[in-house]
């Protein structure tokens, strides 16, 4: 990793250019939009986005687009096959001399956690296997947010969703743990994997600066606090993102050349309750009675994760 060093140290170092214009219909305070905005600041305009159906469907509403680069809209399971087609078309045109190498584009899949963990996963696994040269940006808001926050495979244990509310029979809400997309990708040894947070623009920019120079499958999992679905005031998006890091619930990390490296590790982890109690989706863990066992399980899973590295 020594050949690729971090360039950015402060906010003033970020690319001042906005590749994503204002005016979209996404929710005020959207954490995923902020993550995408910062990513595109680094990637620039020469990107073609293959967008799976999801919240980011709202980026472009005909006849308007916020992007200065290209955008191709696909079904929820289809962004990676679309990326394969686009990549092949670009490669062939360059190879045949129809298009100068200088006009080459970065192909990026933009998909939510539902697409990434559920219906889009099969084609994604195949594309990683074929070493498709693309960036995959997963905005992880931990549910099918666009349709009203239904359970996805990335919804966390103990959180309530539309389809997994807290009930007498199922007091915890979602009863299965979140799928580990990072580890699923890692099992196939792709070029690069990173988790990023909209709260950490410098860390995010440095990771994209590295990844854009690489070839092959590159995954970004972007923590995307969702005021609407998670149930918090939009102004607290970054506070929630900060707590996700400080509690150790969302580790910032990278995978490159066979190694996992953690960034911005909290020195002393804040109890997970501080993160949970601020969100309506976890309210049932505290009111009307504290669900001690569920809370303890959430904490112990976070502790178990970090004990592998401490």
């Amino acid at each position: 990793m020594s050949a690729i060093t971090s360039n950015y140290k402060k906010i003033k170092d970020l690319n001042p250019h906005e590749s994503l214009s204002a005016g979209t219909s996404l929710c005020a305070g959207c954490g995923g939009l902020e993550g995408l905005r910062l990513a595109l600041k680094e990637l620039g305009d020469d990107v073609i986005i293959c967008n799976a159906a999801g919240c980011m469907t709202l980026l472009s509403v005909y006849p308007f687009t916020p992007l200065r680069g290209s955008w191709l809209y696909t079904t929820m399971g289809g962004p990676v096959p679309a990326a394969q087609g686009v990549r092949d078309a670009l490669d062939i045109r360059i190879q045949q001399g129809d298009m100068p190498e200088s006009e080459n584009l970065q192909v990026m899949v933009l998909a939510g956690d539902g697409s990434s963990n559920d219906m889009g996963m099969g084609p994604t696994s195949s594309a990683i296997h074929r070493k498709l040269d693309f960036i995959y940006f997963c905005y992880d808001n931990e549910a099918y947010g666009n349709t009203g926050f239904q359970l996805s495979a990335a919804s966390p244990f103990g959180g309530a969703t539309q389809t997994a509310p807290s009930t007498g029979l199922h007091p915890a809400g979602a009863e299965l743990p979140k799928k580990d997309l990072f580890e699923i990708w890692r099992a196939q040894n792709p070029t690069y994997i990173a988790t990023v947070s909209p709260r950490e623009p410098i860390d995010l920019a440095n990771k994209f600066a590295k990844a854009k120079l690489m070839k092959g499958p590159r995954l970004f999992i972007c923590l995307s606090p969702c005021p609407t679905g998670w149930g918090f005031d939009p102004k607290e998006t970054h506070l929630i993102a900060k707590l996700a890091r400080d509690t150790g619930i969302f580790p910032l990390k990278e995978f490159f050349e066979g190694k996992v490296m953690h960034n911005k590790v909290p020195r002393k982890r804040v109890p997970v309750e501080r993160y949970l109690e601020r969100q309506k989706r976890f309210q049932h863990l505290f009111i009307p009675v504290r669900q001690e066992e569920t809370l303890a399980q959430i904490q112990s899973r976070v502790d178990a994760y970090w004990s592998q590295y401490e």
Binding site: G23, A28, L59, V61, P63, T65, P198, D233, K235, T237
Partner: protein, 301 residues
């Protein structure tokens, strides 16, 4: 049958207001139907909700084009291009506007077809709910009161049922009921007129010729033209930078999801109010607390 249409913005409780009013009418012995309408947009974007109330079974479906009672929770909508809250209203429509201004002023300013009923719900909501723009109970109460045929007891019961279903704590529900009662007692009922309906005939079927995808797919060739759409009217609160105290750390610029804060040549951040949706992240994140939160609706209109 009375047809009631409510207008507000995502996050203001407009959908819930329609539900509470529908439930209240049902408890009072009427047949009722309620449902919201919103596009792909989100919190802050225009939301409409509909309630039909009748002693007979409600067989009519679909959005209400010709309302008997119009409840407008957010007067700024009257100045926006869409939706057109006054659509289908004429001199026989009773119009309520959440505003502190006198009915005559409102009628003149917004060119309303009839003299509206006005009441400023903002201080009431702030007093009872500690939130100035959460109108679910208040707006439902306005509707029930103006209709005159729903007793306050049924309204309060409906507030309890609907808010309990949404998982609100007992204390919050109690505050909502107090608010609904206060609003109910602040207004008097009006003589709502049910308008004659004309059946709109369907036009002839339009047949479209099949075309190649290259012609018929929605292809956008412009770059970044989304900025032509203004989202500034989503704002409930407005962030204002105190430049005298700003040290140009640019945290606000880095944290704004809309990219609505740019950096001027001088190094100062500048807010683009045409697009700022008022999420207030910048005010929350500013380390020096130099970004103030100013209410957009404080003074009614």
């Amino acid at each position: 049958m009375l047809r009631i249409r409510m207008h507000g913005r995502g996050g203001q409780g407009i959908k819930t207001a329609g539900q509470i009013l529908g439930s209240a009418a049902f408890l009072a012995g009427f047949q009722a139907q309620d449902f919201p309408l919103y596009g792909a947009e989100r919190r802050g974007a225009p939301v409409t909700s509909f309630t039909r109330v009748s002693p007979e079974p409600v067989l009519e479906r679909g959005p209400i084009g010709i309302p008997d009672l119009l409840l407008i929770a957010d007067a700024t909508l009257l100045e926006s291009v869409r939706p057109v809250p006054l659509n289908g209203a004429d001199e026989s429509t009773t119009i309520f506007i959440n505003s502190s201004l006198a009915p005559e002023t409102l009628q003149q300013y917004y060119q309303l077809p009839s003299l509206p009923v006005g009441l400023n719900l903002i201080p009431l909501c702030r007093h009872y709910l500690k939130k100035a723009n959460l109108y679910s109970s208040a707006l439902a109460s306005v509707g029930a009161r103006l209709m005159g045929s729903i007793d306050m007891g049924f309204l309060l019961e409906a507030v309890e049922i609907e808010l309990e279903q949404q998982g609100l704590a007992e204390k919050q529900i109690e505050h909502n009921k107090e608010l609904a009662q206060k609003v109910f007692e602040s207004l008097t009922s009006v003589n709502l007129q049910e308008r004659e309906r004309t059946v709109i005939k369907a036009g002839s079927l339009a047949l479209l010729e099949p075309r190649l995808a290259a012609d018929s797919a929605p292809i956008i060739l412009a770059a970044g033209n989304m900025a032509l759409r203004k989202t500034g009217n989503w704002r409930v609160d407005r962030p204002e930078i105190d430049y005298k105290r700003c040290n140009q750390c640019l945290i606000c610029y880095a944290r704004c999801p809309e990219g609505a804060i740019s950096v001027q040549e001088s190094g100062s951040p500048e807010i683009d109010y045409e697009h700022c949706k008022g999420c207030m992240i910048c005010a929350e994140e500013c380390p020096g607390n130099v970004i103030q939160t100013v209410s957009e609706t404080e003074d009614g209109s």
